[in-house]
Amino acid sequence: MFENTLFFLSAALCIIGAAGVVFSKNLMHACVLLLASLFGVAGLYAVIGADFLAASQLVIYAGGVVILMLFAVMLTGGSSENSNKFGIEKIPGMGSTKTYVFAGFSVLVISFTILKLMANFMKSYTKGELPAFSSTVEKIGTLLVTDHVLAFEISSILLLGALVGAAVIARPRKG
């Protein structure tokens, strides 16, 4: 009962958010809608018992990525002139009819493809009764430092590299 409610709420938030990101004409709104969609995903994680994953999703996306996106929007959209020296508008549109036609075409193609793949998979899958998760944190921690320690360390190096790289790239320079 509770779980179903939470699932419906989360799924609705997720899908509506995603659709909003697609159709929103305002970049700021798109960002906020993306945040809603990601919260929905976090809720979906929580429904299937992946509590650590849900919290990670909240911390990283709500606290980090979306605010970064908002910052980037602020830092790049501040000019009042409409076109740059290349003749293209400075604050690019969120899509025109042409691009939407292309996007729709691509989406159709890929939808059929994925649905074809999924249909085969659904037929072969019979739903089994598996026990719910209880407290995934310890198990994830154990797995991270035993079976997946290499990936864990590599991801730490990746993060360090991203940190340094982002700082170096975005540093204001002359010329």
């Binding site: 305002n26 906020v32 650590f52 909240l58 911390v59 605010i67 944190v137």
Partner: protein
Amino acid sequence: MSLSINDYLNQFEAHQKAISFISELLGFDASGLITFLVFATAAFVVVNVMALIGGLGTYAERKISADIQLRQGPNRVGPYGLLQFLADGVKMIMKEDIFPAQADRTLFNLAPLLALIGVFATLAVLPFSSGLTLTNLNIGVFYLIGVSSLVGVAVFLGGYSANSKWSMLGGMRGASQIISYEVPVTITILSIVLMSGGLSFGSFVESQGGFPHQWFIFHNPFTFIGFFVFFIGMLAETNRAPFDLPEAESELVSGYHTEYTGMRFGLFALAEYIEVFVLCGVAAAAFLGGYKVPFDLGNGVVFVEKLGLPAIIGKNIGQVLQLGSFLTKTLFLYYVVIWVRWTFPRIRVDQVMTICWKYLTPIALFNLVGITLWVFAFDGQSIWEVLSHMGGGAHGGGH
């Protein structure tokens, strides 16, 4: 420590009897409905009490600042001016609701709500007492950090949507400050997680004791430093003085809520005061023993055995004592926060970032390493236990 307030109530026979009675009455299994009702009631109560506390926060702020500045403070409405906040609320509701012409109306409406949502969502895991915890998530702290970062988004959106340069600057300052200070605060909490061995607030509190020497703040020298790192980071995260750059009156009129009027501004202010309370509660739970009462009075066993009271009454007396203990510590920290605001001058905007990245973060990392070594070297014992064992060892050596 129960899993949630519902589990706590399920301990009592009366509760189970009530459930079975209602089930018979309605003709289906009413346990789910009761659970929902219990949660709804508890959440309603907690949120309203918190709103009340937030409102009283404004009163306390004005009263304490008046005390510090040798003034009277509000004293007209109600006894000692206690009802001043209600009068303010009425005034705000009655005010005209103004939208700036160029504002992004959707986001302008959304921002205060997001702030309030983020703050209220954190209340779900705040351990008021061993029973009165809405839910004791096993990733409680992580959840709290994630949800409270919604406030940063709200501040940013509030600053952006008003389409005013003061708001914009305040919003950007606020957002950058909040996500920056999350780093040392999270690392400090991580060190507490190391010592308690769990991410939930229940495990935090249960691994401490009622007496100050059993608290984590006095556990070892690193945690003592860590508490102040956490406290300073907390001040900055809540945009409190001396880190109230986003709403610096002298520079930015009023920061991200310059263009807000009426109850929207009220919601921002409320969210801020409640967030201060929540973070003070986190500090109390993580460092100051939380709801723990000395001599194990909190579980009520003493009252049942010594005074012969019924179990249910003894347990509830214990809960009240625990609630009192938690509120005492939290409100003391709340007082300190206000005290700091009216004592220290505001620092410059570059100093904010300097303090975060050049001082607090390295110190927090140092603390993390130090606490790791401490836990490894002394098997999780506090400095007092280590000292007493040393003394005992010396005494035993005399034989």
